[in-house]
Amino acid sequence: MKFDVVIIGGGKSGTLAAYKLARAGKRCAVVSAGHCLGKTFRREFIALGGTFLNGDRVTGGNVEGGRVQYVRTENLGENTVLEAGHFILCTGKFFSRGLISTIANIYEPVFGCDVLYAQDRSEWTVDDFFAKQPFENFGLRVDDSSRVYVGGNVISNLYAAGEILAGEVDIEQSVEKVCRNII
């Protein structure tokens, strides 16, 4: 199935990006692994004729020549893939499983994107419960156009927006930036 843009994650940043891109005339699909905030943008996106895959999860993608060709989802199964010119990762951080933390490391489960985080596990947290925790700023490394890296190489049509980014994130600005690049 072909789209202009496939947005992975249907939370705040995912639905906002979908809405903005649909308004600009792009044919978009959102794959949302769980219900989240962002109901208004979801409603408006669907009203604009957007495709919203509710309760589905991207299981992996095909990357060739530095570009994502397509992604697969759990529900669509083996025979149907989602192809697009651009892909946006909006899967958030740990609660929404955009990032997975194990005893040993932190990784991004769909594409294995490069994650910026402290290698020494003792630096993930600080003892003061009320203090800002270092892990809150862990996230994806992106280039100036918000494109992600896999194994040190930039993926030319895979962007990231929202909470999944490293550092202090302004969600609206991060979405706006990606949408500007795509439109």
Partner: protein
Amino acid sequence: MQEHNISKGNFEQCLKCNICTQVCPMFEVNPHYPGPKQAGPDGERYRLKDPSFFDLTLKYCLNCKSCEVACPSGVKVGDIIQIARLKYGRQSNPLRDRMLASTDLVGTVASVLAPVANPILAFGPAKRVMDIFGVDHRRTFPKYSGEKFEQWFKKNAAPAQSRFKEHVAYFHGCYVNYNYPQLGKDFVKVMNACGYGVSLLEKERCCGVALISNGFGKQAAVQAAQNVDSIRKAGAPVLTTSSTCTFTIRDEYRNVLGLDCADMASTVELAVKWIYEKIASGKVNLRFRPDFHLKVVYHTACHMQKLGWALFSQELLKMIPGVELVVPEQHCCGIAGTFGFKKENYGYSQAIGQPLFDSLLAAGADAVATDCETCKWQIESGTGIPVLNPISILAMALLTD
């Protein structure tokens, strides 16, 4: 250290975020229902300690699985509730519940008696009697067909199927067999146009969804085992036209009834998915009438949402020139199979469905398309708009020589 979750239905993963409660259609209209979080993972902790903690209000769960679709942590909230009901629940009206759940028996008898049964079931005073019995008088039973689909197929369609090289098997479900053989006829027409012959299963029983939701777990497991057996013997892809039958066979047999049948997920699928994929891969080419015009609003049935396949129905409909398709936001219709027929549930059923009726009426379409038969009854009675299965719309639009 135990690193991975080992609890049944993943219930230890529940973080109490309450997103499931927020999307539960029953919780929205019924203050007596504690909501999926409390009925599912929270209650399970207590029930494991002592079964007397079982809460009778779990009967209000529609088994729509909206909670599971919404859960960001992968908790099988709906499954946990269904299993608890089968394990600890009891029927509030056993005779009525048995009658509503026994679709094969009632269907067979009513098909034979169709000329008498249909007017009686639609007759005012008879409805009052049903009301005393616990079936709401404002409900009308779907009409029973005099000739079962299986009979029609054997007599009229079966001989012509041998001219096709490749075949699919059809799990028609109770509704097609006893009430609405037309959908089965449409399916055969579409499959033949795709270049595939149709066969029936060696023995098909009701998928058992009504037995599960009415607490007859043992009977459901017996029928499930028979169906799994027949499906394995089919030797061809098994296609369906009902999202709920499909969902029950694929997921509920394994997750709720505990059958060892993971292979069903790759054997059984909805015809719309199969046809879409054949067309998309260039293996099938359908020709449509140039004069066909229909404005259609698509309703995503809850189990269709859980399967995640509404996209296939929608994309197929979009392929028909002359179809104008509107897709509103998903909302439960409220009937949940036999649930909405029960007198004590009618009010909740209608209250849940009202926002959906409003949005479907607002679309101003000629027809509603949906993949679920009980949604069809509810939407037709709630809006007056005719409701068609996408396969029937395909059949109507096909160009036949």
